[in-house]
Amino acid sequence: MSWITARRRHPAAGYAVVAFVLVLIGVGYAVVTSSGNASASSPAPANAAQIAFGRRVFVEDCATCHGLFAEGQAGQAPSLIGVGAAAVDFQVSTGRMPAAVLGAEQDRKPPHLNPAQTHAVAAYIQSLGGGPPIPSAAQVSTAGANIGLGQRLFVANCAACHNFVGAGGALTYGKYAPPLTASTPTQIYEAMLTGPEAMPAFNDLTITPQDKRDVIAYVTQVRSQSNPGGFSLGRIGPVTEGLVAFLGLLLFMVLAALWITAKHRKAHE
């Protein structure tokens, strides 16, 4: 009899099988799905071929709402003339565009277009009316950035919507400022630059590229930072702490009190 067969009736056999299958599923899923975000590499300089490719992608995936020449349709989608490649790259690489439902606020979701297609559409829109370009790799690099200044800029201009570490926050009428946990440095730069959806814009003359790098450095550093105090409880402040105090600590003390004062059951004697 093989080793496994001999142990098929072991008390832990069932648990072992379940654990094994779970691990298998988890690893398989991780392998099969991709991370799905646009790369941080700089796009190749636009050329006519890329713009033509972008035009084709645009007509297939975007023109139904944005119009055949990106002129926009009232009540449906805004004009894209002049929004620039950065805006397009942001919206498409975060999966917000193509939009699943009409509306001013779109949720991040797995992107529909791959990086090559994204850059092509961005180049096409850029060719239509100009606008802020996709930032270069050097522009979003956080090497040598001043995280302290980034923190100061972030809490003064961003934290009111996105929360002090970028965990997200509420806006009016059902809108919300999303958490920044999944944003790439390029996407953060582009969002600041173009002001997508309800977010205001911070152009490069107001918050300079150096300032933007500092902000990106703060956001990326703090979100990857470990929590020395234990589980973070969401990093949204005292509300979760209060819930833990009542539903965790106080409940535990009540259980301890019940144990200490419990009457002896007859069976125990």
Partner: protein, 386 residues
């Protein structure tokens, strides 16, 4: 034992007691009868102790005992189930031993796990706290099992006595007090009594006077900020001045402060300003040179750039949240919402006043400057604000 009475309607021909203890409305001390020791030791033994003699003097921590030492032992010496107790003893000892190990773990962890970095703090916290927590939990569990399984069960009864002192004692107190009052002459001589009270009045008020220098009087300090004509608007954090030409993307905002005051928290708490850029036609203008409800003063704007005080008029949080699509300024503290195209008028929430608008213009080099201070006090309302 069969009851000779018919098991009829409730209350008829009862067996044992006359009535259930009338324990709440009268002063009868109707203590429960001891149920006696159950031979198998299953029920806790029940003893009534210390019925107080009727008029005994009461000590502060009361409870008089019967004269002489109590004859019978009141607490059993051994638990009722020795076998279970033996097992429990081993469990308790194991708890305490493991607690000791955890305690030593704490000491060792303190010695060898260093701090000085984020990850160092994490590991130190984990080891120190983990060992401490485990040690305390084991101590607690061991002590609980000790009480529950090693100590014999017992139930004692102690008599209360009425909180109210009996009348004799009250009389005696009254007499003593009145005698003393008479002897002190306090009641009989109103002149000294009243002059004493008069003398203590300034003494009682003196501490309040001593607190006067806690702070300056508000004066007019709440009515003004640091903004003056000609002061440049600097970006908060970087300290850069901005030109109207640079701040030209519609839907932009930025937090700014007056030149020279960015590092002064006291002034920035009043002078912080939000600068917003709009598209032409979005702002609802008035041509007046003073604030008009629901309107933006056009002479105080530059190229559809408008400046509002950042300090919320509710209780003073920086109202830093701006929605480009609805042009609402939302204060995240209590959700006061202001419409930036209509003079920052309040459209929801507890704030009652719009955010004051700062008059801005440009200097000779194109940098945005203030044209003067706010024309009304910024921030939360106060009594003296008209």
């Amino acid at each position: 034992m069969s009851d000779t009475n018919s098991p009829g309607m409730p209350g008829a021909g009862d067996s044992g007691e006359d009535s259930w203890p009338e324990y709440l409305t009268s002063g009868e001390a109707h203590g429960a009868t001891p149920s006696g020791g159950d031979p198998e030791g299953r029920r806790p033994r029940h003893r009534v102790i210390g019925t107080p003699p009727p008029a005994a003097a009461r000590t502060l921590l009361s409870e008089e005992e019967a004269e002489g030492p109590p004859a019978a032992r009141e607490l059993p010496a051994e638990p009722s189930d020795p076998a279970s107790a033996k097992r429990a003893e081993r469990i308790v000892a194991a708890c305490f031993l493991l607690a000791m190990v955890a305690g030593f773990g704490f000491l060792v962890a303190y010695a060898i796990v260093g701090v000085g970095t984020i990850s160092g703090a994490l590991h130190s916290n984990l080891w120190l706290g983990g060992c401490l927590g485990v040690m305390l939990l084991l101590l607690a569990s061991g002590a609980t099992i000790w009480v529950r399984r090693l100590m014999p069960e017992v139930e004692l009864t102690e008599q209360r006595h009425l909180m109210r002192s009996d009348d004799k004692d009250r009389e005696a107190f009254k007499e003593t007090f009145e005698e003393g009052a008479d002897a002190s002459q306090f009641v009989k001589r109103p002149l000294v009594r009243r002059t004493l009270l008069a003398a203590t009045v300034p003494l009682a008020v003196a501490p309040l006077f001593l607190l006067r220098d806690l702070g300056p009087l508000p004066g007019t300090s709440l009515d003004h900020t640091a903004w003056r004509k000609g002061l440049r608007l600097l970006v908060y954090g970087t300290g850069r001045p901005i030109t109207a030409a640079e701040f030209n993307s519609p839907g932009s905002i930025i937090s700014v402060g007056p030149e020279g005051y960015l590092d002064n928290d006291d002034e920035m708490a009043k002078a912080a300003v939000t600068l917003i850029k709009f598209r032409p036609g979005q702002l609802q203008f008035t041509t007046a040179n003073h604030a008009v409800p629901n309107k933006v003063v056009q002479n105080w704007t530059v190229n559809d750039i408008v400046a509002y005080s950042k300090i919320c008029t509710h209780v003073g949080c920086p109202a830093a949240l701006y929605e480009q699509t609805t042009h609402h300024i939302l204060c995240p503290c209590h959700q006061s919402t202001f419409d930036a195209t209509q003079g920052a008028r309040v459209i929801f929430g507890p704030a009652t006043r719009p955010l004051p608008q700062l008059p801005i213009g440009v200097d000779s080099q194109g940098y945005l400057i203030a044209l003067g201070d706010f024309q009304e006090p910024v921030g939360p309302s106060f009594w003296e604000r008209s």
